[in-house]
């Protein structure tokens, strides 16, 4: 199999299967989570808590007072990584073409050099966050294999994409294939690992915010 064949396979059958597993997996997990439901609330709360869920969705994205100073690596590293990843996924012209072909939606892209810089920042942030995780006793204790797997499968698309663009290690068609394969690995694993927070993070924040803002007895 030559490099172009490999790329065609990566863009063809492999991508089809990865996308289907991803779509089925995400919907399945959402059904599973929402299907858990709660028992009917038989006790009337003392007062309503309007908007506390929505407020928490936002407030949990901002460090609580004093925490930024106490643990700057986690917060700044997290921001840099997520922002870099967001820009790379949604504002790189070739990626927008992908979304356009799947959904018909498209939006303006950023200059490639800017996306390139954001990828470098995201990769660096991932490196710093891993080092911090390994050096911090509490974080290390809390970390399991799932955390390291999530870290690795997130790093791979960024790294291979960067290397493909800069023609590093392998020739472009091969490196682009590896990049697409790494994205496919991410797509397949996302619904079934901690990476599912992509879909559940704001739902769970709303839920927590609403629940904690409630003054009453929930059965």
């Amino acid at each position: 199999m030559n490099h172009l064949d490999l790329l065609t396979f990566a863009r063809g059958s492999a991508l089809n299967w990865a996308l289907m597993i991803f779509a089925a997996g995400v919907v399945l997990r959402l059904f599973e989570i929402f299907g858990l439901s709660r028992k009917p609330d038989l006790a009337r709360p003392r007062s309503d808590s309007p908007g506390s869920g929505w407020r928490t969705m936002l407030s949990r994205s901002i460090p609580p007072q004093g925490m930024l100073k106490r643990d700057p690596v986690t917060y700044i590293g997290g921001y840099v990584f997520h922002l870099g990843l967001l820009l790379a996924i949604f504002f790189f012209a070739p990626h927008i073409e992908f979304f356009r072909s799947m959904t018909g939606l498209h939006w303006p892209n950023l200059p490639t050099a800017l996306v390139d810089a954001s990828v470098v920042a995201a990769i660096a942030a991932l490196g710093v966050l891993l080092a911090h995780r390994l050096n911090n006793k509490v974080k290390r204790m809390l970390s399991g294999s799932g955390d390291y797997l999530a870290w690795a499968v997130t790093l791979l698309p960024l790294l291979t994409g960067y290397m493909a663009y800069h023609h590093l290690l392998f020739e472009y068609a091969l490196m682009l294939s590896l990049h697409i394969f790494s994205v496919e690995l991410l797509l397949v694993l996302l619904p079934f690992t901690k990476l599912f927070h992509t879909f559940s993070v704001f739902v769970s924040r709303w839920y927590n915010g609403d629940f904690f803002g409630r003054k009453g007895v929930a059965s």
């Binding site: 030559n2 490099h3 172009l4 064949d5 790329l7 065609t8 863009r11 063809g12 059958s13 991508l15 089809n16 996308l19 289907m20 597993i21 991803f22 779509a23 089925a24 997996g25 995400v26 919907v27 399945l28 997990r29 959402l30 059904f31 599973e32 299907g35 858990l36 012209a93 070739p94 990626h95 073409e97 992908f98 072909s101 799947m102 959904t103 018909g104 892209n109 950023l110 200059p111 490639t112 050099a113 800017l114 996306v115 023609h167 472009y172 068609a173 682009l176």
Partner: protein
């Protein structure tokens, strides 16, 4: 008075042929300089090339055309005279070529046999077109199948040049579902040096450059993993494209006739395969250096790469899926939803079963443990 040194003319040599055609040594040196540059050789090699080529006997060449469209022959011959491409015909003795030779039938085959006999072990075989293995009748010449003619002719060849993507990699005839069982030259011939000069068609000067290299050095130039001469196929179209800066700036044409396309912005979004295509179009260009497809406003279709016909639509960007559709995703989501309902039902029935099995414990059920 200073004596001018005249180049020695050897009877039957290329030099003699050139002299007869009125090609001056100065013109020939210029030609060799440009060939040396194209082949990425140092400038000092130009005079060595001129020396070697002018003394060489005209190279016997047998050109075999199999499952092809004659585009490769058109490419090498459709150039304005006098050009490098025409000049190269002074360097070779084209002993057999269906399209260009006057003879036909038995006489033509006789010419091939004669050339093979006279130049055993020395002649060059150029092949354009793929070879069908499905049924010999799909393509045969004078009752001889393409396969048999290739094997027979290759036996005494010094080297084989597979010209065009069909000969080099199977090309269009090999495209899915490959109805004739087409294969490339390299799939059949394993014991001879083969150089692939792919393209649909290849650039004329790439073909002539390879021939000139063979005449000068008596061997094949440095090649890549796909057997292509590195001097012509060393870079991607994208990396040498004059529209490349627009790719880096994120400026793309959205359609073939929009303002951006007219301003020369990158054609990536319109399906250009330049980033994965190795060829010299962006540097040597076509039609006497006039232009190349991207300059004319159309994206590269990747014609010098193996299986380019089956690499998805020419008009889909490289980052687009080859065949995935939104309905495919919707179907998968429906399957996920059905599985989700089943799992939810299972979870709830487990919960309900646990609740049903739960036995209430009252104070009467409790017994004091007697010490």
């Amino acid at each position: 008075m200073k004596k001018t040194q005249k180049a020695e003319v050897i009877p039957g040599s290329v030099g003699e042929g050139l002299a007869q055609r009125g090609v001056t040594r100065r013109e020939f040196l210029k030609y060799c300089s440009s060939l040396a540059a194209l082949l990425a050789l140092p400038p000092s090699m130009a005079s060595a090339m001129a020396e070697a080529i002018s003394k060489a006997r005209r190279q016997s060449v047998i050109w075999l055309s199999f499952q092809e469209c004659t585009g490769c022959t058109e490419s090498i011959t459709r150039s304005h005279s006098p050009t490098l491409e025409n000049l190269i015909f002074d360097l070779i003795s084209l002993d057999y070529h269906h399209t260009l030779q006057a003879a036909s039938g038995e006489a033509a085959e006789q010419a091939r046999m004669q050339a093979m006999k006279d130049n055993d072990g020395k002649y060059l075989v150029i092949v354009d077109g793929s070879i069908p293995l499905g049924n010999p009748g799909y393509s045969c010449i004078a009752g001889i199948s393409n396969h048999d003619m290739l094997v027979e002719t290759a036996k005494g060849a010094a080297a084989i040049v597979a010209v065009g993507t069909c000969a080099a990699f199977g090309g269009l005839p090999m495209a899915d579902p490959n109805p004739t069982g087409a294969v490339s030259v390299g799939d059949i011939i394993k014991d001879k040096p083969i150089i692939n000069v792919p393209g649909c068609p290849p650039i004329p000067v790439v073909m002539t450059g390879v021939l000139a290299h063979f005449l000068t050095f008596g061997g094949l130039p440095e090649m890549d993993a796909l057997g292509r001469p590195k001097s012509f196929y060393g870079d991607t179209i994208h990396d040498r494209c004059y529209r490349r800066p627009f790719y880096d700036q994120g400026k793309f044409a959205q359609s073939f006739d929009d303002e951006a396309a007219r301003n020369g912005w990158c054609l990536f979004k319109l399906g250009c395969k330049g980033p994965v295509t190795y060829n010299a179009c962006a540097t040597t260009k076509w039609n006497d250096g006039t232009s190349f497809p991207i300059q004319s406003g159309h994206g590269c279709i990747g014609c010098s790469e193996p299986d380019f016909w089956d690499a998805g639509s020419f008009y889909k960007a490289l980052s687009m899926p080859v065949s995935a559709t939104s309905s495919m995703l919707a179907g998968a989501a429906a399957v996920g939803a059905a599985a989700g309902v089943a799992i939810t039902w299972h979870n709830r029935s487990t919960k309900a079963a646990a609740k049903a099995a739960h036995e209430k414990v009252t104070v009467q059920d409790l017994t004091r443990e007697v010490k």
